[in-house]
Amino acid sequence: MKILVPLKRVADPENANKVKIAAPAGGLAPKIETTGLEWKPNPFDEYALEAALRLTENGTAVKARLGEVIVVTFGPAECDQTLRGALATGADRAIRVDVTDDQLDGDLVARALAKLVDQVKPDLVLMGKQTVDSDSNQVAQLLAAYLGWPQVTFAANIVNEDNKALKIGRVADGGQINVRVQLPAVVNVEDRVVNPKGVTSPPTPATHKYADGVRFAPLPAIMQAKKKPLEVKKLADLGVEAAPKVKYLGYEAPPARKAGVKVKTVAELVDKLKNEAKVL
């Protein structure tokens, strides 16, 4: 199976509460200030990469690659670092589409990915369900629509049926919806897909249990990753123009919650809930 995994770098999600929004009184800030924050791959994209690796290997002999995982990112040259990290983790080759951060827009990425899919011809596009900066959850669905492919969102577990179809459990309000999708398809994943039994794929024996979470690149692999192919493309190579369908007017900080009080005893807590907050 050939899998295309789009990756995005984001400001470290553990520090999302440190983003700065300098809005004038009563107005909006022109941008969200992320300087000083560390860049990391979007965690959901890392889950997608882990799932892609599990779908293209025998989990008991991961060095022998049984398929191909191609990672792609959109961004300036600094993003090569994100791609190198993915190559070290196990991806086979990488593509960077050279755009500036301010050109990035979910719809543009989806349209460009659609063109890239025509060139790369993957069986599956596997991606994170959302980026933890814009929290939009849209690119997989847009891409599937532009390609005319089926889509499965919020995948929590994936069973590979002969590299031809996937049986997927997707998270829904009140339970899990199970579907079978023929490849080629676009799938986006939940964090749970990297549970020890999140992905079932035939070359890996049913008895094999993956470690919980994503794998880390061993040191030699980081060196070897430098030799793996990394191709740079321009938007124009893909025949796509930046033609945004939405525009951001500006940003504001969330209203601060007023600092609460500490209570000393259960009795005091219940009294406050009953007589002050009036929620009992």
Partner: protein, 323 residues
């Protein structure tokens, strides 16, 4: 400003509650921008749902009732929604399981820009601007859609569910359109419903949520308190990942977004991804043995204590206070 079409979320003939939040948005936005709103129901066996929706003050309720759309699949629903959207300026979905899945696919079919998961709006000169949470709720962006048709999904916790108006909108049948080439490539197999006697998390007025530290006896520890309060049970991702509770109880940026009247965070540290899902709660109570736990920064009432000691005590005290 053109009119707004709300796409209802219906499962097994039942209108899901987030639909009412999307209707509230459409009602208010149409009024502010000078237009009307209609509702579209897609599914199979929709008589009761259509009747319920016709009481919400819409100009009309469009109903696409066909066995083809019995179970939700974007590939089966999107063509019908895109066809019904003709003549509308805004197509609004509840930001719930199928709405989030469907809205972008419809947007792509319509060549429309998409505003995901909006938590507010403004109308100026008939043009709508949308407010939406980003960075796990640590920033809000204001955006506009510049295409002739706009697609939005509406965060259910941020709009008060629409109430029946007493009137009855006209119900109009529309045809189910079957022209998505991908529809033949995907098959609905089953819906594993998590059965619970308790209210659904996203609909509960009170939530008792536990973290990693509640451990293996998660349900035993929290159920008596939840029962006393008539509450839903929620959890942190760490508790779900450890297998202490079903995964669909997860609250947070990547779990459910909730905004109950009362949220009790028990043995939850208050990571930003957890806060993103519950910061909008009216009253927040935190019980944690670490006085420095970040959860105390967002809680109205904090109790520094061992949860295993105070949860039973709290249960008894609330029982007594309610008696």
């Amino acid at each position: 400003m053109a009119d707004i079409l709300v796409v209802a979320e219906i499962v097994d003939g039942i209108v899901k509650k987030p639909t009412l939040a999307a209707i509230a948005f459409a009602r208010d936005a149409a009024k502010a921008a000078g237009g009307t709103f209609a509702i579209l129901a897609v599914g199979a066996g929709l008589d009761a749902a259509a009747k319920e929706l016709s009481a919400c003050g819409a100009s009309k309720v469009l109903v696409a009732d066909d066995p083809y759309t019995k179970n939700y699949l974007a590939e089966r629903f999107a063509p019908t929604v895109a066809a019904a959207a003709k003549g509308f300026g805004v197509v609004a979905f509840p930001a719930a399981t199928s709405g989030k899945d469907l809205a972008p696919r419809v947007a792509a079919k319509l060549g429309a820009g998409y505003a995901p998961d909006i938590s507010g709006f403004k109308a100026e000169g008939g043009k709508l601007s949308y407010k939406r949470p980003m960075y796990a709720g640590n920033a809000f962006g204001w955006m506009q859609v510049s295409t002739p048709v706009e697609v939005v999904s509406v965060r259910p916790t941020e709009f008060t569910a629409a109430e029946p108006t007493g009137g009855a909108s006209a119900i109009e049948k529309v045809a189910v359109v079957q022209d998505d080439p991908a529809a033949g490539k995907i098959e609905f197999l089953s819906f594993d419903v998590v059965k619970s006697e308790r209210p659904e998390l996203t609909e509960a007025k009170v939530i008792v949520a536990g973290g990693r530290s509640v451990k293996e006896k998660f349900m035993d520890v929290l159920s008596p308190l939840a029962d006393t309060l008539g509450a839903a049970i929620g959890a942190s991702r760490a508790a779900c990942d450890a297998g202490y509770c079903p995964t669909d109880l997860q609250v947070g940026q990547t779990g459910k977004v909730v905004a109950p009247t009362l949220y009790l965070a028990i043995g939850i540290s208050g990571a930003i991804q957890h806060l993103a899902g519950m910061k909008g709660s009216k009253t927040i109570v935190a019980i944690n043995k670490d006085p420095e736990a970040p959860i105390f920064q967002v809680s109205d009432y904090g109790l520094v204590a061992d949860l295993f000691a105070v949860v039973p005590e709290l249960t008894a005290a609330i029982k007594a206070a309610k008696a």
